[in-house]
Amino acid sequence: MDLTILAQILISGLFMGMIFALIAVGLTLIWGVMDILNFAHGEFLMLAMFISFWMFSLWSIDPLLSLPFNVVVLFAIGVGTYYLIIKRVLNAPGLTALLATFGLSILIKNSAQFVWTPDFRQIQGAWLSDHTVELFSLNFSVAEVFAAIGSGLITYLVYYLIFKTKTGRAIRASALDRQTALLMGIHIDRIYAFTFGLGGACVGVAGSLMINFYYVFPGVGSLFGILAFVTVALGGFGNITGAFWAGILIGIVETAGGVFIAPAFKYTVVFILYLIILSFRPKGLFGW
């Protein structure tokens, strides 16, 4: 196997991994702050992709332009989900919230199938889609490069927000000790709603960037859902930078495993790695 293919494997894996990370960041954020695993996260991604898809195909609004709109809409969906569902089950046993989000995911997926039919859709002719660049005889899809850059930016922004701002401090305080945070005058309800909204907004960005190179259909969320969960667990539940690095690791291992072992086992390799790392570091690579 020549060197260019090896380099291509590494770089393709890196890009794919950054996309997993982009999806996982929102998921890990919600887990870290509220201890809730949002099973509807993949469906939020699907909604974001559909919004971008329709804005492009009905009004020719490029996914890059609809990105801010998507962020706002998904933020609102996140906040709405918190007030309508999560808030009511916050004090119930842990499984209740899990099942509530699971139910929500089924509701969203099937409603989408009802409204938009189960057809597969893909956009052609957007600014980013359809272009490949060749560099040192390596091929990259421009859309994936953008998604990877977006992933890095979003991870940094969320990190900055959580660790460098006052709201971030309040979020961290609520995550550490809910009761004490309440006593310190932190409006827990608003912080939680904001966190859920932020998780949605992250996936809003992901959807807008992914529609440039991936098809959308009502079940697309479940394809990425399981890998996003693995990314979150591998990086350490609730750890934002952990999710980023875990995503990259998974992407590279998956692509390399597919080439060097066999494509049929590419996910097997990822899950074996996951099991090995978790048996040595049960809280994930960056968990504490």
């Binding site: 196997m1 020549d2 293919i5 291509q8 494997i9 393709s12 894996g13 794919m16 099937n110 199938q113 039919t117 189960p118 057809d119 597969f120 859709r121 893909q122 052609q124 490949t132 060749e134 091929n139 990259f140 899809s141 190179f213 991936y214 098809y215 259909f217 009502p218 079940g219 479940s222 394809l223 990425f224 890998l227 998956e254 692509t255 390399a256 495993g257 597919g258 080439v259 066999a262 494509p263 049929a264 590419k266 996910y267």
Partner: protein, 415 residues
């Protein structure tokens, strides 16, 4: 209780009983299992539209030159109408099996129809066999399905074994014309369908002296296929033989282009290639892909009645019929014929009727359906289509071709 209200109860009871009785006498319940939700729901829903079109043809009166179109219901069963009871497999063999149990034991259907995915057809037909109930499979292509020695299983579509023969007959012809086809790569999903299709392709390739440069089995419903395509790139194939469902097929096509993979032809087994969404979504990137075919709109020019059926289907689904959906539609006519000859809904009588089926229909190539001792339709023939200007055009065999073959696969940068 007042007299008047008692009278009312008797009145409503009579009406209710009357409707129940009337329904019992005039409808035949048939179970249909398809992937109506989940990863390949779009293909499942298209099959559903096709079956409902077939049902419309059988149950209602239409002025068409087609079996059962001019009558209402099943003539020999006093015009009894067929009613479908749907089961959703979600493309999972386990769910499909449970749905078969439910349809047989709870819904009391008289036979089963289905189930798109070869894996689901396999598990669901075992259930039917256990209850000694006919299972009519319109489209699943795994050759293995009719090699299991089942007595109640019948299939209309050509198998992957037959399609492989067609593919390599075509490649032999290309070879005779001095075209580059020596290096063959096989790319199939790791399911019942893909594994067996790959096996048949390998068998043909090896026995005819082709060089299999890559044999790639990849996970069904992949999030990306980079590693698969990079492996292919290293193998430098002339021809790719593909067994993928719609989502994966779209992903492969996009990644082939991204990695500028060069090849002379891509031949698909029954699967994602055939779903019109493939050409609609990928537009110029879908051009020149090829696949086996049992129906193309090109057939309409030769048999105008097919155009009318296509219109009926298009009203429901918004797209033209393809081979897979035409097989599903034909299945309704075939089962109507079996019911009509059996003159009963008893499963033994019905299965005997299927065994002696020799049904002439213009809907499929070969102009008829006749099952051999294994339950496989012996009359079906496969052609090859190629996507040209977003239409599936018949290009092989030459005697049936409506458009000349475009060879080789036009490189991405020249489109």
């Amino acid at each position: 209780m007042k007299k008047s209200s008692r009278g009312l109860i008797v009145f409503w009871a009579a009406i209710l009983l009357g409707t129940v009785w009337a329904e019992a006498a005039e409808t035949i319940r048939i179970g249909a299992i398809y992937p109506l939700t989940g990863a390949i729901a779009s293909s499942g829903q298209r099959s559903k539209h096709a079956i409902e079109t077939g049902l419309d043809l059988v149950n209602e009166k239409h002025d068409l030159d087609l079996p059962f179109a001019r009558t209402e219901g099943i003539p020999n069963l006093k015009g009894a109408k067929i009613q479908l009871v749907w089961g959703d497999s979600q493309a999972s063999p386990e769910v499909g099996k449970t749905e078969a149990e439910r349809l047989i034991t709870i819904e009391k259907v008289v036979m089963l129809l289905g189930a798109y995915n070869s894996g689901v057809s396999k598990s669901a037909s075992f259930v039917a066999e256990r209850y000694k109930m006919p299972f009519l499979c319109p489209e699943s292509s795994s050759a293995e399905l009719t090699e299991r020695g089942l007595k109640y299983f019948f299939r209309i579509a050509p198998t992957d074994a037959e399609d492989s023969v067609a593919f390599f007959n075509f490649l032999d012809e290309m070879k005779a014309k001095k075209r580059q086809v020596e290096r063959v790569a096989i790319v199939c999903e790791n399911t019942e369908f893909g594994v067996h299709a790959a096996k048949e392709a390998r068998k043909q390739a090896e026995s005819r002296g082709y060089k299999v440069v890559a044999d790639i089995s990849y996970p069904f419903k992949s999030t990306d296929v980079k590693s698969e395509v990079l492996k292919l790139k290293a193998a430098k194939p002339d021809v790719i033989i593909q067994g993928s469902v719609l989502g994966d097929m779209m992903l492969f096509a996009r990644t082939y282009k991204e990695q500028k993979l060069a090849f002379n032809a891509n031949l698909s087994y029954c699967g994602g290639y055939h779903d019109p969404s493939f050409a609609l979504n990928l537009k110029k990137d879908a051009e020149y892909y090829m696949g086996q075919c049992t129906f193309s709109t090109d057939f309409i020019a030769k048999k105008p009645v097919l155009g009318k059926i296509n219109e009926m289907y298009k009203k429901r689904s918004g797209v033209d019929l393809d081979g897979v959906t035409m097989e599903a539609l034909t299945a309704v006519l075939v089962l109507a014929d079996a019911l009509n000859r059996a003159k009963s809904t008893d499963s033994e009588a019905l299965v005997n009727a299927f065994r002696t089926t020799d049904f002439a229909t213009p809907t499929l190539p070969g102009d008829g359906v006749k099952f051999n001792e294994k339950g496989q339709n012996a009359k079906i023939i496969s052609y090859l289509t190629q996507i040209q200007n977003q239409e599936y055009r018949v290009v092989w065999p030459e005697s049936m071709a409506s458009k000349p073959l475009v060879w080789p696969f036009v490189p991405w940068e020249k489109r």
